[in-house]
């Protein structure tokens, strides 16, 4: 159990990073953000050629049978590139649910990129409140009710719905994309009005959300690292008072502190996927969600006026970070969970 990256992971990282740099730099993400944020061509290449779609799908179902640790490295890069692909929603959350349910056929379709899935759970739900935003009931082979704030549903052709421990594959749901704070991972309201539901197996939603929360920490680390790197580059270039802005001591000290936060976010993200316990996931979320927000906020402030403009992609990161802070539990939720998980009991 190591907190370092393996060689395989570094190769995977390089492949993803190179592809994003080539095909979808932040400026390109910004251009499509308001019309159709997701980039299906990019996803086809990522899913098929690099093979990220089937990363955590067991080999027996055509996947790579890789560990969460490898998926985490992909998420670091997708976070860094704010990449508009449904990896987290389809290849992590939905896939994990399908692996639990043992849904071989669907997993095969996801593994080779033929299908893209979404788990109809609010992105604002958490391992501690898995039902937040959802009011779905099963009755006579159909579902009715609503789930708000579902990420990735607008680009999924397979919709999976957990209801009281069962996972259903549902057709005929209404998916309404909402104006979302995070432009690059918009959420939808999913409504079931007697939609046909096929049970695919058991699902432990708490475990799926916890798995997702642990991995989301890697994406948040990637967001934070991009914000830090981009800001460092900017303050080295930008001159005011005939000096690089980055030569001013108060700026230097703030960036040193931010770097320390980001360094610790990397360690926390790695630990979440190697230790793979409720404590590790809660720690990583409690720390990394805040670090991503802080990094994006500091980046904005240190970019000065240009950071407030739509034309600079920085706001995409701020919006991602701030939305992800709520996703799968706020830092406060995860700290509260640690009270019992780590033996720091509250007032009696």
């Amino acid at each position: 159990m190591s907190l370092l990256y393996s060689e395989v992971e570094e190769e995977l990282r390089a492949a993803v990073r190179d592809l994003l740099a080539d095909r979808c730099p932040p400026s390109a993400v910004l251009k499509r953000a308001e019309s159709r944020p997701y980039d299906p061509d990019l996803w086809k290449t990522l899913a098929g050629e690099i093979g990220v779609a089937g990363l955590i799908v067991p080999e027996e179902y055509g996947g790579a049978g890789a560990s969460a640790s490898e998926a985490a490295v992909v998420l670091e890069e997708l976070g860094r590139g704010i990449a508009p692909v449904p990896f987290f929603t389809s290849s992590v959350l939905a896939t994990r649910a399908l692996v639990q349910a043992g849904a071989g056929e669907l997993l095969e379709r996801l593994a080779d990129g033929r299908s893209t899935a979404a788990l109809a759970v609010s992105f604002a739900a958490s391992p501690y409140r898995p039902d937040r935003g959802a009011s779905v009931r099963h009755s006579g082979g159909t579902l009715s009710g609503t789930v708000t704030g579902v990420a990735g549903a607008d680009v999924a052709d397979v919709l999976l719905v957990p209801v009281e421990g069962d996972l259903y594959h549902v057709e005929g749901a209404e998916v309404r994309a909402e104006t979302s704070f995070d432009l690059t991972r918009p959420v939808s309201t999913v409504t079931f009005d007697g939609a046909g539901a096929t049970r695919v197996g058991d699902v432990d939603l708490v475990a799926v959300l916890r798995f997702g929360a642990g991995l989301l920490a890697s994406e948040q680390y990637g967001v934070a690292q991009w914000c830090l790197d981009t800001t460092l580059a900017y303050v080295k270039e930008r001159h005011q008072f005939a000096r690089p802005v980055g030569s001013f001591q108060s700026i230097k000290h703030r960036l040193a502190d931010l770097w320390l936060d980001v360094v610790r976010a990397r360690a926390a993200a790695r630990n979440a996927v190697t230790e793979d316990t409720p404590v590790a996931a809660a720690v990583a979320q409690a720390w990394n969600a805040g670090v991503a927000v802080r990094a994006a906020e500091e980046a904005l402030q240190l970019h000065g006026g240009i950071g407030m403009t739509w034309e600079h992609p920085l706001h995409l990161y701020l919006k991602r970070a701030k939305s992800a802070e709520v996703a799968l539990g706020t830092p406060g939720d995860h700290r509260e969970a640690l009270a019992s998980l780590a033996g720091v009991p509250g007032p009696e």
Partner: protein, 387 residues
């Protein structure tokens, strides 16, 4: 003139001018009666009284047609005091009346993409050509440029001397050929501000405010008035931004957590002591003893607004946004819009009108008397500065 005499004067003015009549006629007459800004000289909208006497006039004329402090803000708060301090008599007579009545709107052409915190390094060139100046450059963060008839403009007229010395200040004709105003979209989706491109804009020399090369000193007068303007007003306990968050908080008991409760209580206390500090500052001003606390108010409010709006986002767990559509907006609508807008817009509070970093420099040097850092740009000709 004491308060009683001033009241008489207002009464006399009202007996001759009907507030229910034509709005513009009324305002023009009010200006001519010296009741626009009583601390200005007679003949320029004032009576040469002390500034606090203005409150008497405002009370007496409370029910009458009013000027628009929003769209006229730059003109009233920044252009007018500068014109009063540095304008020729002719300039004062030409500009102040329509500025005050709102017949002519003003904007400010100071900041540039390369000159934000370090305004004095600005690059917009003005080159003399006979009785005219030819101006080329780009300005940014200009609010109201698309409404404006005139602008206050700082330009570089001599690149060969150190940066503070080669500047000249103009009134810019916004209707002149070569002035191109483009909306500047912000991270909230809308455009409150503009970029203004100046290409071969010709300004007559009688639009110059102050001497050639003295633009920095003139701009200081303008900026001093900006700082005062932005400091933030009064308000009741639990009001302002904290009040907005409290409304959400009280409406959603089901969303409350101990984490957020403790943080909200801390911010409530910080908002309250900041409010008290502002109240004390206003008492000092009223007593004629302005304290140095003013420099800190904007800094404090920026930090508070950002912390409160960030907390509200966490509290509401709302992944949506009200509207990212690109459109012009004239105001900062903190309370009419959603929490996402508030969060994003508040980020600008620590940048616009002097970044929090610059304000900390100012406090540490001018208030605390700490030494300045070694400067490397004081004696170098502007054209030779690293950038």
């Amino acid at each position: 003139m004491d308060e009683a005499r001033l009241k008489e004067r207002v009464a006399a003015f009202l007996s001759e001018n009907d507030p229910a009549g034509d709005r513009l006629e009324f305002l023009r007459a009010r200006f001519d009666a010296g009741l626009a800004w009583v601390w200005f000289p007679e003949g320029l909208g004032g009576l040469g009284l002390s500034r606090d006497m203005q409150a008497v006039v405002e009370r007496e004329l409370a029910g009458t047609p009013q000027i628009d402090g929003g769209v006229q803000g730059i003109g009233l708060g920044m252009a007018a005091p500068t014109i009063l301090a540095f304008g020729t008599e002719e300039q004062q007579r030409r500009f102040l009346r329509p500025l005050w009545t709102g017949e002519e709107i003003w904007c400010q052409l100071f900041s540039e993409p390369g000159a934000g915190s370090d305004l004095a390094t600005l690059a917009t060139r003005a080159v003399r050509d006979g009785d005219e100046w030819v101006v080329d450059g780009q300005k940014v963060w200009t609010s109201g440029a698309h409404h404006a008839r005139w602008a206050i403009l700082v330009t570089r007229t001599d690149p060969g001397v150190p940066k503070h010395r080669g500047l000249t200040y103009f009134v810019c004709d916004m209707q002149a050929p070569g002035v191109d105003v483009r909306p500047l979209r912000q991270i909230t989706g809308e455009a409150e501000f503009n970029e203004v491109f100046l290409t071969g804009v010709r300004l007559a020399d009688d639009l110059r405010l102050g001497a050639v090369g003295d633009g920095w000193r003139v701009a200081q007068t303008t900026l001093m008035n900006e700082r005062v303007a932005i400091g933030g007003g009064g308000g009741a306990r639990g009001g302002g931004m904290v009040g907005g968050v409290l409304r959400s908080w009280r409406e959603h008991p089901e969303l409350r957590t101990h984490d957020l409760h403790q943080r909200l209580l801390s911010l409530w206390v910080e908002a309250e002591v900041t409010r008290l500090s502002g109240a004390r500052l206003r008492e000092q001003l009223a007593a004629g003893q302005p304290g140095p606390e003013g420099s800190g108010m904007k800094l404090s409010f920026a930090k508070l607004n950002q912390a409160l709006t960030g907390l509200e986002m966490e509290f509401l767990r709302d992944l949506g946004y009200d509207d990212y559509a690109f459109r012009r907006s004239e105001t900062v609508d903190f309370y009419g819009r959603g929490p996402g807008y508030r969060y994003l817009r508040a980020k600008g509070n620590s940048i616009e009108g002097g970044t929090s970093e610059i304000l900390r420099n100012i406090i540490s040097e001018r208030v605390l008397g700490l030494p300045s850092e070694p400067r490397i740009d004081k004696d170098v000709p502007w054209k030779d500065l690293p950038r």
